[in-house]
Symmetry: C2
Subunit: 351 residues, 2 copies
């Protein structure tokens, strides 16, 4: 891989379409000048936006398509009507063909996952991919997965998530042996869903290399940064992620209200405004925008549908980091190790 | 019911035992002087704490038992070893016998639910009880249920939760027809778990009286206060609740850090300290402590295991409000209505 990172963008995805995608690409380009961009979507909408940014234009190409996946499409519908030709498909397919190192879309998550799986295929031994989110914590950042790729999980899938999440943490955080916890509704062994308890047993007994299994964690342990990698199935993970974002927005509103509630509070705000600016930045859910699809033969990043340009740029930059660090090759090696364990142990455990 | 509210307390529950329970009772007594308390637990630990508070002592009795349910006990173990005699059981049984109007415990949630169900029995038509939490939002407060009583839910159980949650919202918030949403990982009809989609269909088609069904909501809609009642099964609900609490604590830490980051920030803090005090109060997860067990023939309140005296008092006060408003009779009436609907419709729907 050269230093140049080639990025395929679904320009029609998300609530705001090309306006946010092109503006986000420009922000990412300013911060990572070695990027090149491939925009897929309606050329007549994309062209004026790119033309208005000459430096971006110099490193971009646009591939026209009229077809866009809609937010309300079921994955199966999207696959039927959008395969081979939609902007989302073409962005993913650019990764498959080797025309791009990664793809980013703010479109329909289910469709993006279905198309990515169909086109890129999963890594050996992985049946169901996952979305990993970077979660800001009191100790730095953690990886939480799965935050919505698939619903429900058996014990072996949860162990796969632990292995993939730990590989990602080793790379993104530079940790030799990241700590891993299973999200549950109590830390006692007896509590929670059967697959979660069973996955806990496998992780404890197998003692996999490159990860330090710490047992169950609860919802409030995520923000505390108790472990580097939090493993959960996609329904609960998505709800945890969105609830945390909602709470952050809610408290930012409270803070705004408090700081304008009286004259002395407003004076206080003036004195403290540099501190508030830093605080606002830390509380900004846009900074953490972007989920990495794990378990596929290629790198696909999902941005929030509602992301603005800053948020979309964060998603691009997340992918950029993952590409530069050769995440994929490292995950493949870690999974090979787990799946080559004596099958007796794993199968006996999961049955 | 007289104006006097008689409260049974499991004095041995929670991380701090009698010290927090007795101190919390005293705080609740100061705010609601018509309360009477029954403490169940180790009398030699409870007596000095009560003796030190003469006004509390005047309205309290203690029933001694050596047996306490441990936090790590499975519900079935707790039931085997703690039935008839543990402090938790005796507090619940006081409600059954009519010696108390409500019971509060900060002990093991699973054990409390199992014992409550075994002793008080569920309301007609309800198989699985639920825990409802009061959730502070940007628009006031919402009720979220189930936050951890039972794991997994079929469509009919989710509809029961909607009916019970709406009855609770009518009483606690004084709303004639509270809005209700089903927690899901997307607002589109096609998304999410099958039982959630099916429950959505029933709620839409039955158009139950006393509740205004608004469709699916996502995690970030909770704090926004998009609906008065958020319905979910207990695993995801518990994770949402704890994640929100963790995020609130995390942001409070960020705020503290920001306000001491520079001299001018510290000066600003001095000017704004009254506003900060109000903000701290709004962000305080203790204020929302206490889950109401719904679906039982009696009122049981679960406090957080880690609650301090202020938190435990909040749990008592929540129960106090529920008792004064005769929640139970109202829920029973609402459920009767739903379960007396033409069974064809409901069964056909849920099968």
């Amino acid at each position: 891989m050269s230093d140049k990172v080639r990025i395929a963008l679904d320009a029609m995805g998300g609530d705001h379409g090309p306006a946010v995608v092109v503006a986000g690409a420009e922000l990412a380009r300013q911060r990572h000048p070695a990027c090149e961009f491939l925009f897929f979507g309606n050329a007549s909408q994309i062209a004026p936006l790119v033309d208005a940014r000459p430096k971006l234009k110099a490193v971009s190409q646009t591939v026209h398509t009229d077809i866009a996946v809609r937010m309300e499409d079921k994955p199966s519908q999207a696959l039927r009507s959008g395969r081979w030709k939609s902007s989302m498909w073409l962005a993913i397919d650019a990764v498959k063909k080797g025309d791009a190192d990664m793809a980013v879309s703010a479109g329909n998550t289910g469709a993006l996952m279905a198309m990515s799986k169909f086109d890129l295929k999963t890594l050996p031994g992985i049946e169901r991919p996952a979305i990993a989110a970077l979660w800001p914590t009191l100790r730095g950042e953690s990886i939480v997965l799965d935050v919505g790729a698939t619903i429900g999980a058996d014990a072996e899938h949860l162990v796969d998530l632990a292995v993939m999440g730990a590989a990602t943490a080793r790379i993104l955080f530079g940790l030799p042996r990241p700590s891993v916890g299973l999200l549950n509704i109590g830390v006692e062994e007896a509590k929670g869903l059967e697959p979660v308890r069973e996955a806990g047993r496998i992780l404890r007994e197998e003692d996999l290399p490159g990860l330090d299994y710490r047992g169950f964690v609860e919802g409030d342990d995520i923000g505390r940064g108790k472990v580097d990698v939090v493993v959960t199935e996609g329904f609960a993970g998505n709800i945890a992620l969105k609830t945390a974002e909602g709470t952050a927005r809610q408290l930012a509103e409270y803070l705004k209200g408090a700081m304008s509630s009286s004259l002395s509070a407003r004076v206080g705000y003036l004195f403290a405004r540099a501190a508030f600016a830093r605080l606002r930045e830390r509380m900004d859910p846009r900074r953490a925008n972007g989920g990495v699809f794990l378990g596929l033969n290629g790198i696909v990043i999902k941005s929030h549908g509602g992301a603005d340009a800053e948020g979309f740029a964060a998603a691009i930059e997340l992918g950029h980091g993952v590409v530069c660090d050769e995440l994929l090759a490292k995950i493949r090696a870690a999974l090979e190790h787990f799946h080559n364990l004596p099958q007796q142990a794993v199968r006996g455990a999961a049955s």
